[in-house]
């Protein structure tokens, strides 16, 4: 989801006071400000989660506590800001805010995605009045808790890490020392956590300067009016889009295969799209109760998944702001898998349930739109590594992220080895991980011969083999699709599974978490300890296929064979394409596809 700088924004036809050129100037100034915030984050942060994976979001809100601009970083966090920002500001109280204050929270029950998502909010004052807010949500690698880097088989929020309700972390431009002391005393990586927080807050100050430039140039009244107009344009565009979908109710369902606590117990997500004129209700009633592990979604995550799915279905380009969300209502039942209640855990819900929730909604949208897709690999590949760095002697925590295969679509194959569509983060780079942490990447490649076949096939996953270079590497994981596969659409085939396995130094056999370590889950576990020379295999899932494989363009099948992605036997047996001497035998292919071969 990227927003074009030339989005077809038109002024309201009955508002002769709005200058369409100035509207675009203001709108693009705000978007550029968000992008600049992100660049500042990349250049000043300490951890690879920020400066390499880009697991953060920069947005601006106006005085009405509504989003007016964002940059295309992490969509999962962007949708959540709509809920966590007003909640945090109102709990602190407008009357208690002063220039130079910064609010901080990571409370998943108050609208945030999950505990690692640190949210900082800075009001921009002009002549003693709040005109706007700059906001940064970013994924802090370590938040204390029972496992390094937060992802594993937690049973409750207390095991997951430290939780902050809305508090001031800056007062009148000064650090609130007690908050920082509490934070760095409860994480494994105090230096980088402190540095990353400062990078986040630095981006807010940068945004404040850019907003001030705009206000100084055009005046506060113009700024307020154009903020409203920016949102109203998006609302009109979204209502027009919803009106193009036929009224009705469209249901779909999907599952998360386990919760890391109860073996072989899947958790169902049920959704119904209710289209009524120019409004849309995304109804999750009937979804399973909240699970015992951390695969639960917070309300903020579920709402964000709903917004993401709708924006994926939008035909054309729309400025992403609060106006686009106004016609969309979300219905959930508290205490369920999509609206976790205190004190149940939720760290894994944002990374690994969120993608499946989006896919469930796209499955429902497939009934009314050809923009939908088969399911994605549906996991962020979150594997945490922690221990003592043998070079520095200090504790470390590293969160590995990995791409998966995306689902095939009506007109395209699924993307290969790309981070899930709601995350928009980068796969962990080999060089960065090897430089900072005691591990080597022995293999890193696309995993061939494993994909959801189709007229437009799914994307391929990846294959990595790690070798550890120190003793006592503590490994925890929250990953999906070890059992449940990404589903195909329109006669496309299902995708393939995730695989995590371990091998002790000198041994030849790989063992998985259940068989080798007695864990209840192959993908959601903690406390597996690797030593110097031990190895870990990680294969990520492929996406589902879209359409009948027998309708795939034979030249595309040939290309996949030439690139080593599938074999000639698969080309013949699944795609009905006969290859002779490296080319397509057209007559034999037609005969085989027509049942005459």
């Amino acid at each position: 989801m990227t927003e074009s700088a030339t989005s077809p924004v038109a002024p309201a036809p009955d508002d002769t006071q709005t200058d369409p050129f100035l509207l675009e100037i203001v709108r693009n100034h705000l978007i550029t400000t968000c992008r600049e915030m992100g660049i500042a984050m990349m250049r000043t942060s300490y951890s690879p989660m920020f400066n390499e994976a880009l697991d953060f979001t920069c947005v601006l809100f106006d005085a009405d506590l509504e989003m007016i601009a964002q940059a295309p970083f992490c969509p999962a966090q962007i949708g959540t800001t709509v809920h966590v920002v007003p909640s945090a500001v109102r709990e602190i109280g407008l009357e208690n805010l002063d220039p130079g204050d910064v609010i901080f929270t990571n409370d998943p029950y108050r609208g945030d995605n999950h505990l690692p998502e640190f949210c900082v909010i800075k009001p921009y004052f002009h002549d003693g009045e709040i005109l706007a807010y700059s906001i940064n949500i970013a994924h802090m690698t370590d938040i204390g808790g029972m496992v390094p880097a937060a992802f594993g088989d937690h049973r409750n929020t207390f095991q997951e890490g430290i939780r902050f309700p809305p508090v001031k972390v800056y007062e009148r431009d000064q650090e609130v020392a007690s908050i920082f002391k509490i934070l760095i005393s409860n994480v494994r990586t105090p230096k980088s956590s402190y540095g990353d927080m400062k990078a986040m807050i630095g981006s807010l100050y940068l945004a404040e300067r850019r907003i001030d430039e705009l206000v100084q140039r055009h005046g506060a009244d113009t700024f307020r009016r154009y903020c409203r107009e920016i949102k109203d344009v998006s609302e009109r565009l979204m209502r027009e889009q919803i009106s193009r979908w036929p009224d009705g109710e469209y249901e779909a369902e999907g599952v998360i295969e386990d919760d890391g606590v109860v073996p072989d117990r899947a958790w169902a997500i049920k959704a119904c799209l209710v289209v009524r004129g120019d409004e849309l209700i995304v109804d999750f009633m009937g979804t399973d109760p909240q699970c015992f592990g951390s695969a639960n979604q917070t309300f903020g995550t579920t709402a964000s998944a709903a917004y993401n799915a709708v924006l994926h279905m939008y035909e054309g380009s729309i400025p992403y702001n609060h106006g686009a969300y106004r016609p969309i209502s979300v219905v959930t039942q508290p205490g369920t898998f999509v609206n976790v209640s205190y004190p149940a855990a939720s760290v894994g819900g944002n990374s690994d349930t969120h993608p499946t929730t989006v896919d469930v909604l796209l499955r429902a949208f497939a009934q009314i739109s050809d923009r939908s897709s088969a399911a994605d690999g549906g996991t962020c590949g979150c594997i945490g590594f922690g221990g003592e760095n043998p070079v520095t002697g200090e504790p470390y925590a590293h969160l590995h992220l990995e791409g998966v295969g995306w689902g095939g679509r009506a007109r395209h194959d699924g993307n290969d080895s790309q981070f899930v569509k709601n995350g928009n983060c980068a796969n962990t780079q080999v060089e960065v991980a090897e430089t900072r942490y005691p591990l080597l990447n022995l293999e890193y490649q696309i995993e061939p011969n494993a994909v959801g076949h189709g007229k437009h096939r799914g994307g391929f996953g990846t294959r990595r083999v790690f070798r550890f270079e120190s003793d006592g590497v503590n490994i925890a994981s929250h990953t999906n699709r070890h059992e449940a596969k990404a589903w195909g659409l329109e006669d496309g085939h299902d995708g393939t599974n995730t695989l995590i396995a371990f091998r002790r130094a000198g041994e030849t056999e790989w063992v998985r978490a259940r068989e080798g370590f007695g864990k209840p889950s192959e993908g959601k576990f903690s406390g597996i300890v690797m030593n110097d020379g031990d190895e870990m295999l990680f294969v990520t899932p492929s996406g589902g296929g879209y359409g009948d494989p027998l309708e795939r363009d034979p030249d595309l099948v040939l290309l996949d064979v030439r690139e080593g992605l599938i074999t000639a036997e698969v080309a013949r047996d699944i795609y009905g394409v006969v290859l002779v001497d490296g080319t397509v035998d057209v007559a034999a292919t037609n005969a085989l596809r027509n049942g005459d071969g």
Binding site: R90, G111, F299
Partner: protein, 64 residues
């Protein structure tokens, strides 16, 4: 003592935690908090007609 989130109401329609604010209304013969007029409308026109008394399952009683 500050309230923990378990003591705060949730919207009868969307299910969102209401740490501040909200609109109180009587539905299914009990007081219910909603986060917005839009959520009341969704409850009245979709959630309650479709799910009946189950529409408020999981929605905590308002503490008085």
């Amino acid at each position: 003592m500050y309230p923990e989130v378990s003591e705060m109401p949730k919207c009868g329609s969307c299910g969102k935690l209401l740490n501040v604010g909200g609109i109180e209304a009587v539905r299914l013969e009990r007081p219910v908090m909603f986060c917005s007029e839009r959520c009341i409308e969704v409850f009245d026109t979709d959630k309650e007609p479709k799910y009946g008394s189950a529409a408020l399952d999981g929605v905590p009683e308002i503490a008085r």
